[in-house]
Point group: D2
Chain length 312, copies 4
Amino acid sequence: MPITPEQRDEIDRLRAATYTTRRATVPALEEILYQPIEVLDHGFVRVVDYMGDDSAVVQAARVSYGKGTKKVSEDAGLIKYLMRHRHSTPFEMCEIKFHVKLPIFVARQWIRHRTANVNEYSARYSILDREFYVPAPENLGAQAVVNRQGRGDLLEGEEAAGVLKLLRDDAEQVYGHYEEMLNHREDGTQIDPSRQGLARELARMNLTLNYYTQWYWKVDLHNLLHFLSLRADTHAQYEIRVYAEAMLDVVRRWVPAVFEAFSEYRLGGTSLSRTGMEVVKRLLAGEPVTQETSGLSKREWRELMDQLGRAE
Amino acid sequence: MPITPEQRDEIDRLRAATYTTRRATVPALEEILYQPIEVLDHGFVRVVDYMGDDSAVVQAARVSYGKGTKKVSEDAGLIKYLMRHRHSTPFEMCEIKFHVKLPIFVARQWIRHRTANVNEYSARYSILDREFYVPAPENLGAQAVVNRQGRGDLLEGEEAAGVLKLLRDDAEQVYGHYEEMLNHREDGTQIDPSRQGLARELARMNLTLNYYTQWYWKVDLHNLLHFLSLRADTHAQYEIRVYAEAMLDVVRRWVPAVFEAFSEYRLGGTSLSRTGMEVVKRLLAGEPVTQETSGLSKREWRELMDQLGRAE
Amino acid sequence: MPITPEQRDEIDRLRAATYTTRRATVPALEEILYQPIEVLDHGFVRVVDYMGDDSAVVQAARVSYGKGTKKVSEDAGLIKYLMRHRHSTPFEMCEIKFHVKLPIFVARQWIRHRTANVNEYSARYSILDREFYVPAPENLGAQAVVNRQGRGDLLEGEEAAGVLKLLRDDAEQVYGHYEEMLNHREDGTQIDPSRQGLARELARMNLTLNYYTQWYWKVDLHNLLHFLSLRADTHAQYEIRVYAEAMLDVVRRWVPAVFEAFSEYRLGGTSLSRTGMEVVKRLLAGEPVTQETSGLSKREWRELMDQLGRAE
Amino acid sequence: MPITPEQRDEIDRLRAATYTTRRATVPALEEILYQPIEVLDHGFVRVVDYMGDDSAVVQAARVSYGKGTKKVSEDAGLIKYLMRHRHSTPFEMCEIKFHVKLPIFVARQWIRHRTANVNEYSARYSILDREFYVPAPENLGAQAVVNRQGRGDLLEGEEAAGVLKLLRDDAEQVYGHYEEMLNHREDGTQIDPSRQGLARELARMNLTLNYYTQWYWKVDLHNLLHFLSLRADTHAQYEIRVYAEAMLDVVRRWVPAVFEAFSEYRLGGTSLSRTGMEVVKRLLAGEPVTQETSGLSKREWRELMDQLGRAE
């Protein structure tokens, strides 16, 4: 269960209250405001606040271009133009705040994105809950051979079962010892009243990296899109990609025209090197080109053929 | 007149429309939303959007401290605690967006604050208006002698009149030449249809630094307070300080508990050096201390005596 | 003359002294260390310090990949891989510090790049020199008609002469008045001993935007390359592009393998949209495609045909 | 053993080579360049590169103040002035790069400091070593009662022994299972050739937070000092404080004048609130003040009395 009954009550309370505002408001996003979107076995992501909409991007761009742009009459067209030419500052004019519950090893990848505001649950102050991530069997990939950081075939049978058992048992055991060191039971009572219990800031080091943490994460739309372009990508680890995909859906609700442009130019876009572009031109001119005559390494040639959809 | 009739209409239109939201909403800030607050002779600052309120700071801090802080029952107390101990991340959870019209030389100081999002009017794309800043006579300070970056006595009489005339005449003249180079009249027509007119990106270089520009400036509350602590300070140049003071008023409306804590611990606070604190302790112990026996330089001694309110 | 005799002496003094270090050192960059590279009519850029070399990028990447990358034996290959896959953090491990003298309107574009450290000459403290930029006749472009922020044909004859005269005369005049308001002559004496002189922080507002300022600008290699990819681009204003081009040469000396990869994948690279890539695939498959059947707007179609080198 | 024999050889090789440079060089820092300073049971911090020295701070400040500051003749005095008045940009002109080996739970605190460049060992690519942190008995603090995030008395006797045994045994066990899931022995061979082994990016989640990771961390002097002012503080967790203290020693070697000023005004400095300062003035005027008449809360009164060295 990703959220506690207390959190559920709090969410219901927040969702029940409405206010009158003069600010730009997005009904499709208001609809899901505060609602947790479940991710992995115990995680979630939920929007807790936002600022701006598609028009806020346009409004900012129009300040930059002043009277000079009266002719650009269509907002979606302007947004596509900005995205295509990497004019990023107007996208910084929208802001969103998420509450995320995620495994610690995912949090460690996520936090590399520095241009964001974060408040994380502190295990120095408080005791972490007994919640840890265990992959579903269909995500239990073997080490990839070619791509050193990826997954290959699925583990199966006994090997898979063995891995899942080890992960579960170790996580359970270290949590039991965490409580023992803290001299603390889940109901808040002490295990042994004659002991003091280890400091929380020390005891936490006994937990494994699949334990869940949570944080508020606030970011502007430009930096969110940058995050999503890296983390909703097939090269990203599955466990962070599912968060990115949930957030992509949020972006679609929030700023549909920006989402459209982002899909066309960034998520669905392709980068070609100088030499790769020369190859494309030669091919278009009807010249036969092979890896040997292309000027590309074998790896780059393979990547280019993939991009061009040419089975080799 | 700081705003154009078109801007006035746009503001009235925006203020007339209201929406229903589940987001945290601050009625005292809604009241002035979009309204320009006049600053200097043609400038303004106005709030065009915001995210969060006092409670958003508390909410973020409570995520950090988790269950461990149930006892801190009072929000204002928690906010004071955070401010006193420089726990800055919860203040980053609020965001505000201003539209500002300001002289270019003020914009050049302002932009040094890097942790903010900016979209500025572009004089590459568009033609700047004929609006420039001229100080009011009561702000026409002479160069300070001791403080190399400050102002001393007011200029008076002929000297003051001469300065004002030079500033006005030069600004008028360079604008006339700006239009002449652009081959462009304010009504949009060409001066001489046989000429092409210089590129805007070049012609603008003929304008003086007191011409007004404008931008959208979006910032989180922590970085806004940092900006205000430097720019609402008596060491800041008057022309940026008046913007900071107008924004301080906005902060008071928006997040009154944060404003209270900021006034007590930052704006009204004092930093003492290690040696300065030793002097205070010796004085409290009844020991007579002079600059010579204090271990402080003459300048630091004078600053400390000022801070302690001891006329020398 | 871009540098003063005092600066020349200082540079000669610095260049004459050598030290022994265990740090990574780049002889080709040491060769030009401290030497001003002239840019525009009075500007310059010069390297005053640096940290790291090509190997520092590799070293950082190897820490990330640990033992797992023993097979990537070739440094230049690894650098190309990092550049191609936008693994940017290893490039942040090199740092460079420039001293730049540049017109204020160029400084205003430059400062938008926020991830850098800057110390600028302060006209609150000190008096600016009588040095301003006037374009060479071959850079005196007319306003472009299609591209609202660009330049078109060159101005010629009387129109060009008129513009140059206006720029020069206005700049001279405002400087004269600047000194008059300051009550200050270039030799340091007062014009009228009975006057106080206006505060510097006010008098500077009378200068035009083509006056030169200077700053120290320190940046990591990743952010420098991002700056160069935008500012060494044909869409950048000529007056900032010449600085970017001078700095590109510095990068070539400093980190030749990084420069090579940057040229291949970024400067010389091409981005295609999802639909643009579909068009390329259809063309390669021998299908005739027109703008009408392409799914692209007229503008995007024209851009794509340009990229593919297909005259229409 | 914090470093491997391969690392030792690499360090010796680097230290043996010297180069000639025109850059500012600090012999006292060169002396320890590349040398690991041991921290905790298996960690270290070592300087791998640096840019600038005390003079670089002065040089940058002098650019800002231009000719206006000829009178500030003494460098140390200028550095103290900059530190006292929080003119931070000149301190950004120095840069340093550390290689750090540290437990993951320490890395998670450290990474909150966003204004730095980081390349961390990736457990997606590579296999982590069997090295984990276990506190020395003299650091095994009990949970503090008043300060929810701190440590109180030391654990003793059986309780201490029990904690150390749990930490060690769990860390050993999860590493054994890590290898089993990876199907990998430390010598590089497979445990069971018929199995594929779990992907590294998944297996790592079974490790506890006291396992060591390592990274390159590059930061400018201003942000380093900010980090040190928070992390070399008594409120910081012991396990990060020892790293901060080792780095403080590095700062003392590198930029002694900056270190001096930092100690006087920041590390050794005191912040007083508006009301706290009023109390000091009243006490100095001979007025008796109690908590009740002070306007301070009990907690703040206690903190102020502590700062003033007045036992209550």
